[in-house]
């Protein structure tokens, strides 16, 4: 309430202060994330362009229908839901770490940073499993009148339109762009998760070494948090574009 009154009367653009009321580092982190949003946006939009230019695209419920240790049980969306919840949970622990930082509670920051790192590692583990499953799982494809067994790679897509062959439905090769876009975009996102974990580990160690306590504020945790939430934000859109629609 009092701050709102200050905000009303403040002449933000007459110099002598930051018109954004934030430190240089934080503003630049936001600008970096905005540019990164455009990088991811460009990837996802080019994926959309190629997908819209094809008469047939793969059915995600058919490609992503397995779960670790569940054999060949048909479980569409199950594993990716788990990955999504892991990332949302790690986002919550990150924001709790930022909250503890506001309260200058070092033990709290340490605890929640560890949970966030753990969440990130779990997510990467899930992604590794999913990639392995796609790259090694063999599917029947009808190529030039013969049945072949293909895995899903950047050069092979065994999830094309189905045709009748010897009295049963067999898939034909699908657009190869599916594999390249899937591995490119989830790989680029996974790389962000990986670098986010590295940043979080550095922040955890600096907290443990009392760097922020001596500095008098935990703004670095906030900046690392911004990056980590951005990774979660991108996953929300990757989840939409590859698995849901």
């Amino acid at each position: 309430m009092s701050t709102a009154a200050v905000q009303q009367g403040t002449k933000w653009w007459s110099g002598g202060r930051s018109p954004f009321n934030a430190s240089y580092g934080k503003v630049m982190m936001w600008y970096f994330l905005m540019s990164d949003a455009f990088t991811f946006g460009a990837f996802l939009i080019s994926y959309g362009t190629i997908r819209f230019s094809q008469n047939h695209w793969v059915d995600p419920n058919h490609v992503f229908n397995s779960f670790p240790f569940a054999g060949h049980t048909n479980l569409p969306l199950a594993f990716v839901s788990l990955m999504t919840f892991i990332l949302i949970a790690s986002s919550v622990t990150m924001v709790l770490a930022v909250h503890e930082g506001h309260k200058m509670n070092r033990a709290g920051v340490e605890k929640y940073m560890l949970w966030t790192i753990l969440g990130g590692l779990c997510f990467l583990g899930c992604q590794a499993w999913e990639w392995t499953h796609l790259l090694t799982g063999q599917h029947e494809v009808l190529v030039n009148g013969q049945i072949e067994h293909w895995n899903t790679t950047v050069a092979h897509n065994p999830f094309g339109p189905e045709v009748m062959f010897n009295g049963r439905e067999v898939a034909t090769p699908g657009p190869i762009a599916f594999g390249s876009y899937f591995f490119e975009i989830t790989g680029f996102h996974g790389f962000h998760v990986f670098s986010g974990i590295i940043i979080n580990i550095v922040m955890y160690l600096k907290t443990k070494m009392k760097h922020f306590e001596l500095r008098g504020h935990y703004e670095m945790i906030e900046k690392a948090g911004l990056y980590w939430h951005f990774v979660d934000l991108v996953w929300v859109f990757v989840f939409l574009c590859f698995y849901l629609i």
Binding site: S18, T49, F52
Partner: protein
């Protein structure tokens, strides 16, 4: 008490609430939205499995999922990233450039659809030269 960042760049410090109620509320909202998205996803899966999938219905459900995703993005940016607590100038300098996405998405998906239509019209097997229709050719007898 919230930590005071000693920096001339900061005119006043946003008030941080001492409890975590808002964080957990957002967590439940995000979880609920994700569960709704998943049920719509499974609904689309079941429509596709049926005898005559209704394309308009599927498209409507996909549109709903897109709107729910935007809602999730709003909550993550506004609450988790604390952009909602920043001053208006800060919010605008981030949000306004993102408006470029409106053109970006519309133009490129339009382009993709156009490729599909052109490919279907002039596929590789029966490429026929485009008929030249000069204004003069419209008149009778001009063809000879």
């Amino acid at each position: 008490m919230s930590a005071q960042v000693s920096s001339p760049e900061i005119t006043f410090h946003p008030e941080h609430s001492d409890n975590t109620k808002a964080i957990w509320r957002t967590f439940w909202i995000l979880s609920a939205l994700t569960i709704i998205e998943l049920s719509i996803g499974l609904l689309i899966y079941n429509i596709h499995k049926g005898e005559h999938p209704n394309a308009t219905l599927v498209l409507a459900f996909k549109g709903m999922v897109c709107i729910l995703t935007l809602a999730k993005a709003y909550y993550i940016v506004s609450v988790f990233m604390h952009l909602g607590d920043e001053v208006r100038n800060m919010i605008m300098t981030i949000v306004v450039p993102l408006g470029l996405f409106v053109w970006f998405i519309a133009a490129f998906l339009w382009d993709g659809t156009s490729w599909k239509n052109l490919r279907n019209k002039y596929n590789r097997i029966e490429v026929t030269p485009t008929e030249q229709v000069a204004p003069a050719a419209k008149e009778k007898g001009a063809k000879d």
